[in-house]
């Protein structure tokens, strides 16, 4: 990056808040999807909204791409500087500005870690409901950008249902305020457009979140099965019975092995093919009956073991195990690729079987751990990135799995976003004119196009060609893999 630009940034933020050091830039070359990487030209650490806006204005002046980053736990390459440029790291803006207990909302800066909100308001009997498994680390700004979900979003809704107002910097450097803490704002719902825009519409610099009173009572159940089918059928039956669990999570045998080998081991049965983690909450009245009804449904579907967490400690352990499960994959594999897709619940058995066939064909293990209640699948492909053939294989495998899900009426992403991981798959679900109208909306917010470019919309090139010279498109990778597989057969 030119010295002149660096000087401008340093004058605006102070020298300590700007880095162009090669070693330091290296750690910012990817988010939690480490497969795709590209180094930014600079990383800046603004302390307030005005500094964010100033960086944006400077970037505009020199026509350099820029993008916001929270904790970098994103799983779709959203915070990766695919075209280089400036990463605006918002970790420094991590204060809870105010809490309004009576009206149940909190005003926070974007770098605040999700769980820190609940911890801060716990003394008032309140909490912030959306609970992505990464909640102990991910930032609320990142949650807004990805419209993050979590186990308990089955009952309580995704991030978008819990954001009342925001302050944001548009790609021009203009600062806007949208929404209203008192509830529905007058006029068009522009706030709704920004939540879930994956950091391509605006940089969110302040957020007013809704707080909920903690449920009076909670019951957590663990049901173990010998087959995927019985496990999936239970999910459908619970929903069909009109029960709305707070959470309904699925974990398969590979996942259980990994979790039980980690610090988050929680006593998940190692001999199960799959387990369901089911939680119901609400008023104490009637909760025991609901739990009994669920146990009955589990039994009817041949659950060979059903147990209820006996106290808060056991409940917390089960959830820690579930939430630590992506990370625990490191116990059984050097690398993993987390997929994210949504399918109609009734298609679960067929899709799981399909994924298993794909896994066998490519000889790469897949672990399944996901939000079963809303059909939000997370196949985790386990591989070793030191072997280029495996890297090539997972990309094409990922595409096959996406096609399988879309084929049964599903969608590309439940909660992790499209980013630069699945932007080239957008054509699977959207027509040219769909995409064009979406692009029009994007241009309204991001008129210069410099804010987080080459994300969400198809670019005709995979991230791979950036990070890994030598592979150019998924199509070409497909041909390579085909050749490889054919070669093996002979």
């Amino acid at each position: 990056m030119r010295r002149e630009i660096i000087d401008r940034l340093e004058r605006a933020l102070g020298a300590a808040a700007v880095t162009t050091d090669d070693t330091e830039l290296l750690v910012y070359e990817c988010d939690a999807l480490a497969l795709f990487k590209n180094k930014p030209d600079a990383v800046v650490f603004p302390a307030n909204t005005e500094q964010v806006a100033e960086v944006v204005r400077i970037a505009n002046e020199y026509r350099i791409p820029f993008l916001p980053r929270g904790s970098g736990t994103g799983l779709s390459g959203g915070a990766m500087a695919i075209d280089g440029g400036i990463i605006i790291e918002l970790q420094g803006m991590n204060r809870i500005l105010s809490v309004d207990v009576d009206n149940r909302f909190a005003v926070v800066q974007p770098g605040v870690v999700n769980i820190h909100i609940s911890q801060a308001v716990a003394p008032h009997g309140l909490y912030y409901a959306p609970d992505p498994s990464s909640q102990s680390a991910c930032s609320i700004g990142g949650n807004v950008a990805e419209n993050a979900g979590g186990p308990h979003c089955l009952k309580y809704g995704m991030t978008t249902n819990h954001i009342l107002a925001i302050e944001a910097v548009l790609s021009s450097g203009e600062v806007v305020r949208l929404g209203n803490p008192a509830g529905e704002a007058v006029g068009m719902d522009l706030l709704g457009a920004i939540v879930g825009s994956e950091g391509t519409f605006a940089i969110v610099t302040e957020i007013t979140v809704r707080l909920l009173p903690k449920p009076q009572a909670v019951k957590t159940l663990l049901a173990a099965y010998k087959s995927f089918e019985e496990c999936s059928q239970t999910v459908s039956d619970i929903v069909a019975a009109g029960i709305v669990p707070a959470a309904l999570e699925f974990m398969d045998d590979n996942t259980i092995v990994a979790v039980e080998a980690s610090v988050y081991r929680a006593g998940f049965p190692l001999d199960a093919r799959a387990v369901l983690l089911i939680e119901v909450d609400g008023f104490s009245d009637g909760l025991t009956e609901t739990a009994a009804e669920i146990i009955e449904i589990c039994r009817r579907n041949n659950a060979y073991d059903v147990r209820v967490a006996k106290d808060e400690e056991e409940r917390a352990r089960l959830w820690m195990g579930r939430k630590g499960s992506f990370g625990a994959m490191g116990r059984i594999s050097p690398d993993m690729m987390v997929m994210d897709a949504v399918i109609p619940r009734t298609q679960l058995p067929g899709v799981l079987a399909g994924i298993e066939r794909i896994s066998e064909r490519y000889r790469l293990k897949v672990a399944n751990v996901f939000h079963a209640g809303d059909g939000n699948l997370h196949p985790l492909i386990l591989f070793d990135s030191r072997h280029q053939d495996q890297v090539d294989k997972i990309l094409i495998m990922g595409e096959e799995i996406m096609r399988l899900c879309v084929g049964v009426g599903g969608s590309l992403s439940g909660e992790h976003g499209v980013g630069c991981e699945k932007n080239d798959f957008m054509g699977m679900v959207f027509t040219e004119s769909d995409l064009e109208s979406m692009a029009c909306v994007k241009r309204v917010f991001n008129s210069s196009g410099l804010l987080n470019p080459s994300k969400v919309f198809p670019t005709g090139r995979g991230c791979t060609e950036i990070g890994r010279p030598g592979t150019t498109s998924t199509e070409e990778i497909g041909r390579k893999v085909e050749k490889m597989l054919l070669g093996q057969k002979q």
Binding site: D21, D22, T23, E24, L26, V27, Y28, C30, A32, A34, F45, S71, G72, T73, E89, Q91, G92, N94, G111, V113, H116, S134, S136, A137, C138, V259, A261, S262, V263, Y264, G324, S325, F326, G327, A328, M329, G330, R331, P334, D335, M336
Partner: protein, 413 residues
């Protein structure tokens, strides 16, 4: 890719880059920078191993800014062996960049500030016994520091030297004998905080154990190891292992968390240390399972808090036992301190080499100490005790800082 000296190459493959460790890391919490997070540091180690980066100035800085507190290990779902990785990385840095980084750090951060010599001179006492001396001499540093150290010592003569527990001594169990343990004196504990060792031995005998103190033991080598002086550390480990007859003992007791974690990890450094390491127990870990409770009879009516030393809670997984013991002192009002499991910023010589950051971490800690409104703070590691005493002075809080065994011994009938 396998490097000489790194016994466990590619430990970084355990890291799946999920980021769940970030908020547990004290340096990340203060700085908010990825390169000062566990994930970032591992990423850099991997990049180095794969030839994507060299050991640059900033590489060294981010590696040595790590407190080696292991909070990330407790948080990591993937079971990353962070401490082991960091120590072999530092060893690599020291080999690759010779000793320049240390002289530079000391010169840059200690030399210009007389008050830091209070700390530095204490640390130098440590160096003398920890195997650093030869190393520091070879950099020509000592000659340059010596006059200043003398001055600092004159200014601040409070580094009292207490006599500790004699080497090659034997202490008989009180009452019916339950077994025999050996006592590891630790170099600081015995020379600067000798009364803590005396209290430890009293408690062990009161609990019904014969205590032997082998004469050939030396410093555990933790400081050398954290600084990347692996060979020195190995040599020291070897000497200690042969100083103890592990098989005839019920346990080898240590009361300094940092040393305890090191002793338990000897098998990573040298072969044949498994028998020794399996017997090592922190004093609180051991006492909690004895009949000592019956002997705690003299009430201590004070508000007491406990802060977890990193190398006890994260390094050895000991959390409940010290609390259990303290709570069983009659009359005590035990207060749980918010964030007790988070590092105080002391970390061996960190408060000297990374002073600004260390002080920022300490200031945050003192906020929760103030909130807890306690009269006495107990913590089981000498470095942390120094740090808290300094922190209390700095924050203007009147606070007695003790080792848990000191309180327990006061309560002995």
């Amino acid at each position: 890719m396998v490097k000489e000296g790194t016994k466990h190459p590619e430990l970084y493959l355990d890291c799946v880059h999920c980021g769940l460790c970030l908020p547990s890391c004290p340096t990340y919490r203060v700085l908010g920078t990825e390169m000062d997070s566990p994930r970032g540091r591992i990423y850099l180690m991997r990049a180095y191993d794969e030839g994507r980066t060299k050991i640059t100035e900033s590489f060294v800085e981010h590696m040595f800014r790590c407190l080696d507190c292991r909070a990330c290990e407790t948080a990591c779902p993937s079971g990353v062996h962070f401490g082991e990785m960091m120590e072999s990385m530092r060893a690599e840095i020291v080999t690759e960049r010779s000793a320049h980084w240390l002289s530079r750090l000391v010169l840059k951060h200690v030399f210009p500030y007389p008050w830091r010599f209070d700390l530095a001179s204490r640390a130098l006492q440590l160096y003398r016994q920890s195997g650093f001396q030869g190393f520091v001499r070879s950099t020509g540093l000592l000659e340059r520091l010596a006059p200043k150290v003398a001055m600092a010592e004159a200014l601040m003569p409070e580094a009292e030297i207490e006599s500790g527990v004699a080497l090659e001594s034997f202490h008989r169990a009180e009452g019916r004998k339950q077994g025999t343990v050996a006592f590891f004196t630790g170099c600081v504990m015995n020379s600067m905080m000798g009364s803590i060792n005396q209290a430890s031995v009293r408690l062990l005998t009161a609990a019904g154990y014969d205590v032997v103190v082998p004469g050939n033991q030396i410093c555990c080598g933790a400081l050398a190891n954290h600084a990347g002086l692996r060979d020195t550390a190995r040599e020291m480990a070897g000497k200690n292992v042969s100083a103890f007859d592990a098989k005839d003992l019920d346990a080898i007791i240590i009361n300094a968390a940092g040393c305890g974690a090191m002793l338990k990890e000897y098998p990573v450094l040298i072969g044949g240390a498994e028998g020794f390491a399996s017997k090592v127990q922190d004093i609180s870990e051991f006492l909690a399972s004895t009949r000592i409770y019956d002997r705690l009879r003299i009430p201590i009516e004070r508000r007491v808090g406990y802060d977890d030393p990193c190398h006890l809670i994260h390094g050895q997984g000991v959390k409940a036992q010290p609390r259990m013991l303290l709570k069983s002192i009659p009359g005590i009002q035990f207060v749980e301190i918010e964030g007790a499991d988070q590092c105080c910023g002391s970390a061996g010589t960190y408060n000297i080499t990374q002073n600004e950051l260390s002080m920022e971490i300490l200031d945050r800690k003192m906020i929760s100490i103030r909130k807890a409104n306690i009269e006495i703070l107990a913590t089981g590691n000498p470095g942390c005790m120094f740090q808290f005493r300094y922190g209390a002075r700095r924050a203007g809080i009147s606070l007695e800082v003790v080792h848990p065994v000191e309180l327990l011994a006061r309560s002995l009938d």
